[in-house]
């Protein structure tokens, strides 16, 4: 049973990414959307929370915020809206950390 974890807030604004990344199990996927994408920037402090996790990030949200893909933490997978749907389909449950 796998779960897709959604985080849509900046890790520098609240603790949602911290909660999601620490509760998720191996086999789960973390998808960063909207302001959540700031967590995927390699040089930022928050990216340490992604280590050892399977992480995807919304490409259109990155572009809107001026984050180029070469700034992302290693192993982070960039998806588009179709990729978002695929992740929802592929995992048994979706948990939105609002």
């Amino acid at each position: 049973m796998s779960m897709l974890h959604l985080v849509n807030k900046s890790p520098y604004e609240n603790g949602n990414l911290n909660t999601a990344s620490s509760i998720m199990k191996s086999g789960d996927v973390l998808l960063l959307i909207e302001d959540g994408v700031y967590g995927a920037v390699k040089s930022g402090k928050a990216s340490a929370m992604l280590e050892g996790r399977t992480v995807s990030v919304m490409g259109p949200d990155l572009a809107a915020r001026g984050i180029s893909e070469d700034k992302l933490a290693d192993g982070v997978n960039v998806v588009d809206y179709a990729g978002f749907v695929e992740l929802v389909e592929k995992n048994d449950k979706v948990q939105s950390w609002l």
Partner: protein, 136 residues
């Protein structure tokens, strides 16, 4: 002079697209500029993301208002404070931000930098020196 000029500071602490605060702040700053006050704008915490260069919102169906920051100089808003600690925590440097300038009419329209990189302590001193603070 009818009324004394006041020192107005607009404090931006939120990322640009997740909420409407950043855009609203920009609107209020531009309106305020019309009243010829001594205006400063500060960017700290997630607010520093507002000035990131290379924003392209075509994929999210929202207006990209980031080019407007470059127009602040034309409205005689020349004091833009960016907090150093906020940049560092987020892994950003000034190079990741737009280069904002203004033209100094007293020096033959010489182009000058608008952004002042300040520490949290220095920003605290700037805040203490203001008459009115607006928070977004």
């Amino acid at each position: 002079m009818a009324e004394a000029t006041k020192k107005f500071m607009y404090i931006n602490r939120k990322a640009p697209y997740g909420t409407i605060y950043a855009w609203e702040a920009l609107e209020v700053v531009l309106i305020g500029a019309a009243f010829e006050q001594d205006v400063s704008v500060a960017f700290m915490d997630d607010g520093v993301y507002q000035l990131a260069k290379g924003q392209d919102t075509t994929g999210i169906g929202m207006k990209n208002f980031s080019p407007t920051y470059a127009a602040l100089g034309d409205f005689e808003i020349t004091k833009i404070y960016v907090e150093k600690e906020s940049l560092e925590e987020r892994g950003l440097t000034l190079d990741d931000l737009q280069h904002l300038v203004w033209e100094d009419e007293d020096e033959d329209w010489a182009e000058k930098d608008s952004i002042r990189l300040v520490s949290r302590a220095e920003l605290g001193d700037v805040l203490a020196d203001q008459d009115v603070l607006f928070n977004f």
